[in-house]
Symmetry: C2
Subunit: 164 residues, 2 copies
C-alpha cells in the first residue's frame, strides 16, 4: 500500500512541477502573462490550471494520510502564481516524506471515511486508493498538462512522465 | 500486483466506454458527425480521440500480460467508429478476465523488457506497473475525456469515474 501510494504521488508531483516550469518558460518566451495559463481551462465548466494543481495535491496528501489514519494537512488554497504552485507541490512532497511504509502498509482493509458531495461514504483502504484517490489524482495531473498543451506549451510525454 | 492492475484497468476501461457512449449521444443530439469527435485533439501535435483510446487499451492489455510473462494480444488498430472503439474496450475487458491473481501476484521483481522509442529498457514489475504503465494509461484515458469535454460533451467527473 505504501509503494502504491507515497512514491507514486511523489514522482507525479515532481513531474508536474517540471511541467509547470516548462509553462513558465514558455510564457516568458512568448511574452504571455503567466496568469493567462493559470486561469486557462479546457471548458467553461471545468477547473482552471491552478485549481487542477490544488486538487491533485489534495489527493496526494489526503490518500496516504487517511491510509495511515492521520488527518491530512490543511492548505489555504490561495495560490496565485506559478511560484505558489511550485511551493504547494514541494510542501506536499516534503509532507509525504514524513510518512513511512510502516504507517501505511497493512491498510488494505482500513475503513476510510469520506464526505463526497455532502454524503458520508466509507470504503476499505485498497478500494479507496486504487479506485478513488488514484483515478482522481491522475485526472487532475493529466488535465493540468492537457490545459498547457492546448495553450501551445511545447510539452511531450517525457515531460509528463519525468518532469524534464 | 493483481489488485493494482487488472481490476483497475477493467474499471477504467468500462468507465471510458461510458464516456464514449455519452459522446455518441451528444453527437446525435447536436447533429455532429461522430467522426468529428473521433478525430478531435487538444493540440495539433497530440493524438486524436481514437488513438487515445487505442493507446489506453494497449497499456491495459500490455501491463498485466507482461507481469504474467505473456505476450500481449496484438490488435490491428483499425478502429473507425465509436462502435469499433467500444468493441476494442470490451475485447480488452474480456481478455483481462482470462488473467488470474495467480498469474500476476508475485511479479514485483519480474524483469519487464520493453522497447521505448527504439531503445530496449528493462525494469522490475512493480516499477513498470506503478511508474510506467499506470501513468501512461491514465494519461490517455483522461485525455480522451478532456478532448470530449473541450468539444462540449456534457460529461462530469462522475462519468469519468463510473461511466454513467
Amino acid at each position: 500500500m505504501y509503494e502504491a501510494s507515497v512514491p507514486v504521488f511523489t514522482a507525479r508531483l515532481k513531474a508536474l512541477s517540471g511541467v509547470l516550469s516548462e509553462a513558465e518558460r514558455n510564457a516568458a518566451e512568448r511574452r504571455i502573462d503567466p496568469q493567462v495559463f493559470l486561469a486557462a481551462r479546457l471548458a467553461p465548466d471545468m477547473f482552471a490550471l491552478t485549481r487542477q494543481v490544488q486538487i491533485a495535491t489534495d489527493h496526494a496528501k489526503g490518500a496516504p494520510s487517511r491510509l495511515a489514519g492521520l488527518a491530512p494537512p490543511k492548505y489555504e488554497d490561495n495560490e496565485a502564481s506559478f511560484a505558489d504552485l511550485h511551493a504547494r507541490l514541494a510542501r506536499t512532497v516534503d509532507y509525504l516524506e514524513t510518512l513511512s511504509a510502516d504507517d501505511i502498509d497493512g491498510s488494505e482493509d482500513r475503513a476510510i471515511e469520506l464526505k463526497i458531495g455532502g454524503r458520508d461514504i466509507a470504503m476499505p483502504g485498497m478500494q479507496y486508493l486504487l479506485h478513488f484517490a488514484m483515478p482522481n489524482f491522475y485526472f487532475h495531473v493529466t488535465t493540468a498538462y492537457d490545459i498547457l498543451r492546448h495553450n501551445g506549451v511545447p510539452l511531450g510525454k517525457v515531460v509528463f512522465m519525468k518532469g524534464h
